[in-house]
């Protein structure tokens, strides 16, 4: 599998980042290198191996259903813009 400029553009667009031509070109090479490596991995025979669903060997830790209070001012303190305890963002509507 290989990645061309249009795929890089698409991924950048989905990730909402702007790339210069040069960055785009670099990323294309890096991504292709990674995919080549994955192709190498695919050559290993895994017929007898159970698929690994996660890199963790332990079970997920759970917590009790208890409420901890939060602080509105604190949560809004990093907001570039706020109004009446709302975050304010440029108009987004589909």
């Amino acid at each position: 599998m290989s990645i061309d400029n249009s795929v890089v553009k698409k991924i950048a667009n989905l990730s909402k980042i702007n790339l210069s031509e040069k960055e785009s070109e670099n990323l294309k090479h890096e991504l292709n290198k990674i995919l080549d490596w994955v192709d190498d991995l695919k050559k290993v025979d895994t017929k007898m191996v159970e698929p690994m669903l996660s890199v963790f060997n332990e079970n997920m830790k759970m917590r009790d259903d208890k409420v901890e209070l939060t602080n509105t001012d604190e949560i809004l303190s990093n907001a570039p813009d706020k109004k009446e305890n709302f975050f304010v963002v440029p108009k987004v509507i589909e």
Binding site: K10, L14, S15, K16, L53, S54, V55, F56, E58, N59, M60, K61, M62, R63, D64, D65, K66, V67, E68, L69, T70, T72, I75, L76, D81, K83, E84, N85, F86, F87, V88, V89, P90, K91, V92, I93, E94
Partner: protein, 483 residues
């Protein structure tokens, strides 16, 4: 064949599948300890995880896992002992993490089913899966021209996404499915099922095909907040698709929204912009492993669900299937009925409960009969009707006043002088008076005009001010006229 869309060329079958998002009834969120309370001040229930702060790590809420398992069991579904959480990536201001933690390939609950009573009879609707995921925050677009406002209180609340097989064939089947699912969720206590508050949200997949043909391309209609609108949306969307196909065009796979004011569906996003979510396992979360014993224990604790309760009601109380269906659909109604019926005539209880009381509840927009009138108070009224103190007719007339007063049934009867006349001699006297005043009619009756029986009954009821016991009037008048 029941429901179909009639096109120019042929009849079209409508194929429907549902994705229901049900908010889990928990105190705190799926991966964070902030409160899930409804209607709080904006951004007052948001911690570092819900706000997507770098480095904040999710820890799963045990209660949410339990509720998902219980719901799976209630839907006759396979519980997966091992499930995985994935990141579903997309950008939107009310999703501060930049991804939603969800489950993709390995959900906590696998295939199951529920039963609906469709027009053609009992129908089994397949459930594909149920998975756990985070809710997003809320965006408000109509407060300002240039900006949107974001409230993250809902961000991170636990949702169960319940996906059905494309087994539904009409808007009314969809309505039955949603009502049944909602009823089961409420019996289990895992979700309030309140569509207005948004804790039950429905997306519908609609496609059409000629009968017995292969499945057509589907469109998804998102987030419709009432059963009525869902039915309208399906009808509109199915007709739109039939029109397209019959005029030689193709149905594009799209996400659409329903405009309830115009009664039409519109494309939300075009295909080029269609989302590519780039799912991958969330590296912050190990697999969720469940113990068999936990599932067995929860199975034992399951309450009696509506289908089983319905069968028991029919067998125990000898009531009609139709009535039983109504009584069991709301857990509170079923409980109320059982308390009320304990030492009373089931037929009478059903008639009064589903008749007078339900129409009152509808008028007042109430769900729970207990919130309108206590079992004890209602029961006393039924007992007074039953022993003949109060007539059915008078009881109906007084019903609303009775519910809204602080008086007991016997107090009200006394105050209103409404006690039914069940004294034999008194009724005989009335009969004689009426016959005396209507000699001519009596002769006509005797010469064969038997229709006049009703006239005499009417006159007797009139002079008794409606208080004479109608059954006794009938019996005694028949006896008197035979003389």
């Amino acid at each position: 064949m029941s429901y179909f869309i009639r096109g120019h060329e042929s009849k079209w079958e409508v194929v429907l599948g549902l994705e229901v998002h049900a908010q889990i009834n928990s105190l705190s969120k799926l991966f964070s300890p902030s409160s899930t309370g409804y209607g709080a001040e904006p951004n007052s229930q948001v911690n570092l995880i819900d706000a997507g702060m770098p480095g904040a790590l999710p820890v799963i809420n045990q209660e949410c896992v339990k509720q998902a398992v219980i719901t799976g069991l209630g839907l006759n579904a396979k519980i997966n002992l091992k499930s995985i959480f994935d990141r579903k990536n997309y950008f939107y201001p009310d999703l501060p993490q930049g991804y939603q933690i969800s489950q993709f390939e390995n959900p906590i609950v696998g295939s199951g089913h529920l039963i609906i009573e469709a027009e053609e009879g009992t129908k089994k609707i397949g459930i594909t899966r149920l998975h756990l995921e985070q809710d997003a925050g809320k965006s408000i677009h109509d407060q300002d021209f240039e900006n949107s406002f974001i409230d993250l209180n809902r961000s991170g609340c636990a949702l169960m996404e319940i996906v059905s097989e494309p087994d539904l064939r009409s808007p009314s089947e969809v309505s039955l499915y949603i009502k049944k699912l909602r009823s089961i969720l409420r019996y289990l206590g895992s979700c309030d099922g309140n569509m207005e508050k948004g804790n039950l949200r429905v997306d519908v997949n609609v496609s059409v095909r000629r009968f017995d043909a292969e499945l057509g391309t589907r469109c998804e209609i998102k987030n419709i907040n009432s059963i009525k609108f869902i039915q309208q949306a399906i009808e509109y969307e199915a007709r739109r698709q039939v029109k397209l196909i019959e005029s030689g065009k193709i149905v594009e796979q799209q996400t659409r929204l329903f405009d309830s004011q115009k009664g039409e569906t519109r494309a939300m996003r075009s295909k080029e912009e269609s989302h590519d979510y780039r799912y991958f396992p969330d590296p912050d979360l190990p697999p969720l492993i469940l113990e068999k014993k936990m599932i067995e224990d929860l199975k034992l604790q399951l309450p009696e669900l509506p289908d089983k309760k319905k069968i028991r009601f029919i067998e125990t109380y000898g009531i009609k299937k139709y009535d039983a269906e109504i009584l069991v659909s709301e857990k509170e109604v079923a409980e109320y009925f059982e308390k009320l019926v304990s030492d009373r005539d089931p037929k009478m209880v059903v008639t009064w409960l589903t008749g007078e009381l339900f129409s009152y509840l509808n008028k007042k927009n109430l769900d729970n009969p207990q919130s309108a009138i206590s079992v004890e108070k209602f029961g006393e009224l039924l007992d007074l009707i039953n022993d003949g103190t109060l007539s059915n007719r008078l009881a109906k007339e007084l019903f609303v006043e009775f519910i809204e007063s602080n008086m007991s049934a016997s107090e009200l009867v006394k105050k209103k002088g409404m006690v039914q006349i069940s004294d034999e001699n008194e009724i005989i006297n009335m009969i004689e008076t009426v016959l005396d005043q209507n000699q001519k009619m009596l002769e006509e009756y005797r010469s064969g005009k038997e229709k006049l029986f009703g006239f005499f009954v009417g006159q007797i009821m009139k002079i008794s001010n409606g208080k004479a016991n109608p059954q006794m009037v009938n019996t005694l008048l028949t006896k008197r006229l035979k003389k």
